[in-house]
Symmetry: C2
Subunit: 201 residues, 2 copies
């Protein structure tokens, strides 16, 4: 079994989008696989910390709206600056959780695809129809995905995984964990790469 | 007159310490000088945003306590992981404001020195005696500095400069502004360097 890099993400974060398009390549270069782990940034974590969502934070919200598209261009990634920042994360995350229990590699492909469609290409994933259509391009059964999104079992699997992330100290996303060492932020991809290359410093 | 890079800092931020030891070299490589600009992160800006200070934020506080010393080692900077995170920023910032009105180059040297003494070498700058002693190593008159720190004129100069920073959209530190383009975070030093090299992207 190859060692992993844990990657914590929520679809509502455009910075998680940036990381989602790079982390598998970085980990792979160092012989690791990425363990994609869902979090609920706005719904759970910001409440634990007692902070507001970034778009609603004075000054910081305006900065982030300008910054993330600029950061995407810096990384050479496609960018839809007008992407809907109020994406409801539960449907696509529940879909992810259901897929991961069956096929983690397909689940990661699904997550990368949903991120890119929404934040990179401007197809709004808030609509269930758009989400199912995007998943179907990967050969995922739309009806089964829709049932999974509505399933109490999947809802509770997601809650368990978010609780586990908080217990592990995760508070934002993207967050990367390498052998227990945590890095927060898309702007830490270089440090993640270097930590893997050098085994720490 | 060479063009500038504005660098917004508060002595209470260990991330501003990291940037303070690198920004002049980066700007200088691209023919720019750094305009050091004081902000009051905890006292003013966090209130405008309605957020808590990082050390008091659940989960994030514990992360930052581990992260900033690791980041300092990554940059090859000296680090005092036990440095007092409750440094009262008003005395050293008022001293800076007073010095900058007289000699901006000396003021920047003073700021770099205070940052390094506190966060890099563990000499606690909360004590006025320690602050004055550190300033005196740079040839600054301790008595004049102490009077300046107590002066109503200097207090109001600092308030004006912090208000101007907020009007400019600054919400955190370290923040860098290049020809109106803002970058937030010590982890953006690479993007600052690249923006200066390429003239944007």
């Amino acid at each position: 079994m190859p060692k992993t890099v844990q990657f914590y993400f929520d679809f509502i974060s455009p910075y998680a989008y940036l990381a989602s398009q790079r982390i598998d390549e970085i980990a792979g270069r160092h012989g690791r696989v990425v363990d994609w782990c869902p979090v609920l940034l706005g719904i759970t974590m910001f409440k634990v910390m007692g902070v507001k969502a970034v778009p609603e934070t004075p000054l910081k919200g305006a900065y982030a709206a300008h910054d993330w598209p600029r950061f995407a261009r810096y990384l050479g990634l496609p960018v839809a600056p007008g992407a809907n920042i109020h994406l409801p994360p539960l449907p696509p995350l529940r879909g992810f959780v259901w897929l991961k229990d069956r096929d983690p590699i397909l689940a990661a492909r699904y997550a990368r695809t949903i991120f890119r469609a929404h934040w990179g290409e401007g197809r709004d994933m808030s609509s269930l129809g758009a989400l199912l259509a995007e998943a179907q391009t990967l050969g995922i059964d739309g009806g089964a995905l829709q049932s999974a999104i509505d399933s109490d079992h999947v809802k509770s699997r997601l809650r368990e995984q978010v609780d586990a992330a908080i217990t592990a100290g995760v508070f934002g996303c993207p967050t990367f964990v390498i052998d227990g060492e945590m890095f927060w932020g898309a702007d830490r991809l270089d440090q993640v790469d270097q930590w893997l290359a050098r085994g720490g410093w």
